[in-house]
Homo-oligomer: 175 residues x 2
């Protein structure tokens, strides 16, 4: 895993990939699948997300730390298995062959198989009770240089996904 | 344009497409490009979005109504033009050949060329001052039945986009 400047984090999350969110507490790590996230600020990168999974929600609220791990196409079936199960019942890392790696600044693990990992701290909990929405600050970002041009996946509901296709470049002054 | 059940709105926005947001006030309509949005609730569909464009921000805050219009691949260059200009200076609909259509429940216009249009009312402004974040309720959704399997576009920053590619279906209990 290689450092990614924090100023580039939005380029990973803005296009709306399915991500995985890891948490850890009292020696137990967990992981959920998540599509309800958006950028809120470029730098420091702030990310809003709605955490609908009860077990991860509890761990995130208690520890205020997590990792957003971004999977490419080849992990799609594992992402679905992660989304279809609860960390209360099983160790999802072990069950689905995902490898936890220690993060630098947070207690939650990185996922080795993901092409990007974002270490996050909860920076604002004001909308947690109303919408299960956390505002996260990305404090450290990692990218796997061995995964060239990873194709991310986008969820359309009920296990229907669209994979990244053609890349196009248009002249834009917009960041 | 054909009715779309509100329960299916999330399937359009969850995958993270670039959208356009229209507003209207005192006989003037405007449109901006937007990628910072996410679903917050399935039904009624609630959508959080960060409105970074000053002119649209003012209009949305004043009128509390907007339309989220979702463009397919063929509109990509127009979306960039919309994002690169300000409605203070020009009529973007006229300048870029976008056709405003009257909405049913809000004052902001639909965009005829987009394959989906979501009429929205602002339902929560508590995070507007801090993050420019509005919570919108989708009150009416339209789909263009003539645009079959539209491919959406996803922004990676600075005019770099990825177009929807391969569709895959995996067995999932997740909505």
């Amino acid at each position: 895993m290689k450092d990614l400047p924090l100023s580039k984090v939005y380029q990973l999350l803005e296009p709306g990939p399915v991500v995985m969110l890891t948490t850890a507490r009292k020696g137990r790590a967990n992981v959920m699948a998540m599509s309800w996230h958006m950028m809120v600020e470029f730098e420091p990168p702030l990310v809003a997300c709605v955490v609908g999974s009860a077990y991860s929600f509890e761990m995130l609220r208690a520890t205020k730390e997590c990792v957003i791990a971004i999977p490419a196409r080849k992990l799609a079936s594992k992402v679905v298995e992660v989304g279809n199960s609860s960390g209360r019942d099983i160790d999802k890392f072990e069950s689905f062959g995902l490898t936890p790696l220690p993060a630098k600044n947070v207690g939650a693990p990185l996922i080795k198989e993901c092409f990007a990992n974002l270490e996050c701290r909860v920076s604002d909990t004001r909308e947690v009770n109303r919408y299960s929405m956390f505002i996260l600050e990305v404090v450290k970002a990692w990218i796997d240089p061995d995964q060239k041009r990873p194709k991310t996946i986008h969820h359309h509901g009920y296990g229907n996904f669209v994979v990244d296709g053609e890349a196009i470049r248009l002249k834009s002054g917009m960041r």
